[in-house]
């Protein structure tokens, strides 16, 4: 009996290509648009963010270090101290270290570093292919060394130029320089005072480890983010679609026909639940499979992914019966239109379907109390390589939502004899 309901629903979908296009095509289009348009907010580089950086040293570093050491010799320091400082000075080489940072694995993909001579500066400034220029002024390294090793008062500064339209690149470089400066001075300061930097890290173990364990996971690409975002949003439309079909069955008296045939109204209710659940599954799976091939959204742990899908589609089923029951009771489609027109948008917004609301933010916490938001958090976490065990709270919420919706649905479902 229930199978008949599913079969008939399947046939109806099959004969309504527009409906299919809306349910499956629309999320795919949205993923493509949002993944590209808003992608760099998330990826910081999936969309072409590579830029060219010109690096200009006004004076050779090796020469500066050499001069620095020579000057030490002319002072009144004991010989052992001079050799020791000289050794440290050579190993410190601030400009060299900075270049290493730029060539590090994380930045290598994004920044193309080209070293240039000071006399080329004007030409480079005129060349639009360079987004930023870093100048190390004369005596920079020597001043840094003096500052660190001899407690000098010098305040050597790096000059950063960036061109109009390259604010993002400029910003990134600025941050790298600041970070570098802080680390440099802190690290050297500690070393200077005989404190092993390793030691300090151990002291702050707890907070540090959390950060590092999070960064161990795979980052989620913009396309993957929006694949999940759009699926959890658009699958909600399956609930409204199924409820709409059910309401039409009632309007056209097909429902009455079934009741007259002694078809249990509760079997019908379960049929609606299963229809929404099954077709939400198919809808989600379609888009996920498409995303697998088109956007490289690959699930590291398939069973966990499927478990989240099961829970979420159950919630969709719950929503479908709830909407059906209310529309039957109120004898009006309004609740369904309201849900698909207003509530889904709010849920999608809160749940983070359009943009990430930031880990731990109020919005994100609120979003986790929407079925789609909770599912999205669980999906994202599993995509990053976490497991179901890390998402029990989300699954519990989704299950509670589903059960709650079903119970309210049962209560509001009109009993026999109500107006037809």
């Amino acid at each position: 009996m229930i199978f008949q309901m599913i079969k008939k629903q399947f046939l109806q979908f099959l004969r309504n290509p527009v409906e299919i296009l809306l349910l499956i095509g629309l999320p795919i289009i949205l993923i493509t648009i949002l993944g590209n348009a808003l992608g760099n907010l998330i990826d910081g580089g999936e969309v072409d963010l590579t830029f060219k950086l010109a690096l200009i040293e006004h004076e050779d570093e090796a020469l500066q270090v050499e001069n620095f050491v020579t000057e030490l010799g002319s002072g009144d320091l004991p010989d052992e101290v001079i050799t020791e400082i000289a050794a440290i000075a050579e190993s410190l080489a601030p400009i060299e270290t900075f270049k290493e940072v730029l060539h590090s694995e994380e930045l290598n993909d994004m920044i193309i570093v080209e070293e240039a001579y000071a006399r080329e500066l004007d030409a480079i400034k005129a060349d639009d292919s360079y987004a930023t220029i870093i100048e190390f002024p004369k005596n920079f390294s020597a001043d840094v060394l003096e500052n660190i090793l001899l407690d000098g008062e010098m305040n050597p500064e790096v000059i950063i130029h960036y061109k109009a339209g390259s604010e993002i690149a400029g910003n990134i470089i600025q941050q790298i320089v600041t970070m570098y400066q802080e680390e440099y001075t802190l690290g050297t300061f500690l070393g200077n005072n005989g404190i092993d930097p390793q030691q300090l890290q151990k002291m702050g173990t707890e907070s540090k480890q959390e950060v590092s364990s999070a960064s161990l996971h795979e980052p989620v690409s913009a396309k993957a983010y929006y694949t999940i975002g759009m699926i959890v949003m658009n699958v909600l439309f399956m609930a409204t679609t199924i409820a709409q079909y059910a309401f039409r069955e009632r309007q056209s008296h097909i429902f009455n026909r079934m009741i007259i045939a002694d078809f249990s109204r509760w079997v019908y209710f379960i049929g609606i639940l299963l229809n929404a659940l099954i077709f939400a599954w198919i809808q989600a799976l379609f888009v996920y499979i498409f995303a697998y091939f088109a956007f490289d959204v690959i699930w590291p742990n398939l069973p966990d992914f499927l478990i989240v899908t099961c829970f979420f589609t159950l919630a969709v089923g719950g929503l479908a019966v709830l909407l059906t029951a209310i529309s039957f009771r109120s004898n009006s489609e309004q609740i369904i239109s309201f849900f698909s027109g207003v509530v889904v948008t709010i849920f999608a917004f809160l749940g983070g379907s359009f943009f990430p609301s930031g880990t731990g933010s109020f919005l994100q916490k609120l979003g986790d109390y929407t079925p789609n938001g909770a599912a999205m958090s669980a999906y994202l976490s599993i995509l990053r390589g976490e497991t179901i065990a890390d998402n029990i709270d989300h699954l519990v919420f989704i299950a509670c939502f589903a059960i709650g919706a079903i119970i309210i649905g049962v209560i509001s479902y009109p009993k026999r004899g109500a107006a037809s």
Binding site: M1, Q4, Q12, S252, N256, R257, I260, A261, R416, S420
Partner: protein, 310 residues
Amino acid sequence: MLELIDITKKYKQTKAVKNMNMYIEKGEIVGLLGPNGAGKSTAISILSSLLEPTSGDVKFENKSMIKNPKSLRQIVGIVPQEIALYEDLSAEENMKFFGRIYRLKGKTLKNKISEVLEQIGLTDRRKDIVKTFSGGMKRRLNIGVAMLHDPEILIMDEPTVGIDPQSRNYILQTVKRLNKDRQMTVLYTSHYMEEVEYLCDRIYIMDKGNLIASGTKDEIKQILASENTISLKADHWNERFITNLRENPQIHQMKVDGNEIVLVVSKDVNIFSKLAHLAEEANVQLRAVDVKQVTLEDVFLHLTGRALRD
């Protein structure tokens, strides 16, 4: 075999059916006649166990069906006023679906579908999507779906609304044939008195939730035995003539319909000279004056002062 006993159905503001009594015997075609909003569909819904009455009882073979309508549901087929079909499915898919809902299976279902398709004349359109059907074809399928489980009683709610005359005739013939060949009991609802007059043995007439007349055709027409229905024709009427007619105490009912005026008058009055006099006085040229055969329409006009279809 099926009765409504003192049924009342209240909706929030309206009383759709008031203290209605009705019975249907095996093998009859019973007509339920009334204008839109009379309460026919409500009465039928109660009769077929879809709707619980506010008060009163529904009895099938002397057992109350209000609490447990199972035995009734198995033998009743209902043709709703609406086209209760899946527009996106083919005729055959619809029949399969509803057949399965009636727990028919396999070969039995298949044979039954072919048989019913034959009866409703849709055999060559069986594979076509209902959406592509004409209004008449949809109506026929709407009836066919209600016959799959071989019901003993077929309850039809205005099955000919909004269709072409051919389809309408086809449906009327089919109902007659089902009743004759298979002793199918039929409750036929309509606001077309010709249909009811043609099909039915016994008739109930409803208006505004009240049963205003019931009985065989002849019995109902007897209501007008003491009266005549007279039809007047002229090229045009004037206000004065109509007012005069209206104010005449011997004329019980009147209806102006284009260049025809239908009057219900007492039989023993010699009204003809009176009418001629009134016409002359108002300067109206009468083209024809006829005494009409009593129709159910006249009965309705007589009982309610309104035409069946306004």
